[in-house]
Subunit: 199 residues, 2 copies
């Protein structure tokens, strides 16, 4: 059916949200109009302000509206001298939720992918190299995804570390805690065996 | 973890969308920031304009930014003299998608529910009665939901119709097309039998 122009536009733009299709967008549009106009207005303003003001942290490239994000502004964490390299801000969230890492991050916002034209400069590796060169880092933990591109990126960065005499480590690959061996793929199992620890 | 204030606000307000939880909102926020800032901006403006300008049609009470919606502005449909009463604008969408109804609608925006303090005036039944009284309607089709409140609302409106000598009909209850008898509840089956048609 033909919706009014404003309603059509609202439904159309709601489908820009990842995971929302035409049907879901229509349902959301009607529900917001019927029950939560203030909420929708608040969302409109929050979206506007976020898209306008949220940029990248000057140190770690994660999303923040400040010059430097809260983690990079924490001197205790900076002084630890440990830098964890991840592909995306979501990875920072996942690691922060474990509350076990005390260093700072460097967010690549992607991975090396020559086929898509994504080279070292696009990932800010020149900035990273400058930090490796200034001698304040003790260790770099490579926490890129365990995919082909992630591994290649980790390998590239490990060579930069070597060049500047900074210790580099890769997060362990193995059997996820709570998983069942039966359902683990062979590649992961191989890693779990070769990475075994003596008790 | 602690997000920056603007990011927290964006995630918080995204959960106002029906069906979106904290985790989904976080995912959406990051994806929009990373990949579709223009889309998010467009959504922000569409939300703002829709919430600001979309009101109810003066004739049928459905959502529109115009004085009168497209269906009520169609003289061919108004002249048919058939009025279909539904509970919500979504019901109008569902019926319009069948492309089989040629009359106009009246949207109650709810159903009679004394326990929630929703009486006839809240559903615009005074306006409806004025239209029943002016003698231009031939038939009223009651398409409220087949729930206790929907049936009560239909019953109430059928009495208004009787008072003003306008024919009232209720949509048929029965076995949905494509359904299997085995899985149909007893109440629906009873309706299907009592409403049987001679062939």
């Amino acid at each position: 059916m033909q919706f009014s122009p404003l309603l059509s536009r609202l439904i159309e733009t709601l489908t820009y949200l990842p995971g929302i299709g035409k049907k879901g967008a229509t349902r959301i549009a009607f529900q917001m109009l019927e029950r939560n106009r203030e909420g929708a207005m608040a969302l409109s303003h929050a979206l506007h302000d976020a898209m306008e003001h949220i940029k990248h942290c000057r140190m770690c490239r994660t999303f923040t509206e400040d010059e430097i994000c809260a983690i990079c502004a924490n001197t205790r964490r900076v002084d630890s001298g440990v830098l964890c390299i991840v592909e995306s801000p979501q990875d920072v969230v996942a690691i922060e939720q474990t509350a076990s890492f005390e260093g700072t991050y460097f967010v690549l916002m992607g991975h090396l992918s020559p086929i898509d034209g994504i080279g070292p400069e696009d990932l800010g590796l020149d900035e990273l190299e400058a930090r490796l060169a200034n001698g304040k880092l003790q260790e770099v933990i490579l926490a890129t995804n365990p995919t082909v591109e992630g591994e290649a990126t980790a390998h590239y960065i490990s060579q930069l570390c070597q060049k500047h005499n900074v210790a580099a480590s890769r997060i362990a690959h193995g059997v996820p805690v709570g998983g069942e061996l039966e359902y683990i793929d062979g590649n992961t199992l191989m890693h779990a065996f070769s990475g075994r620890k003596t008790l």
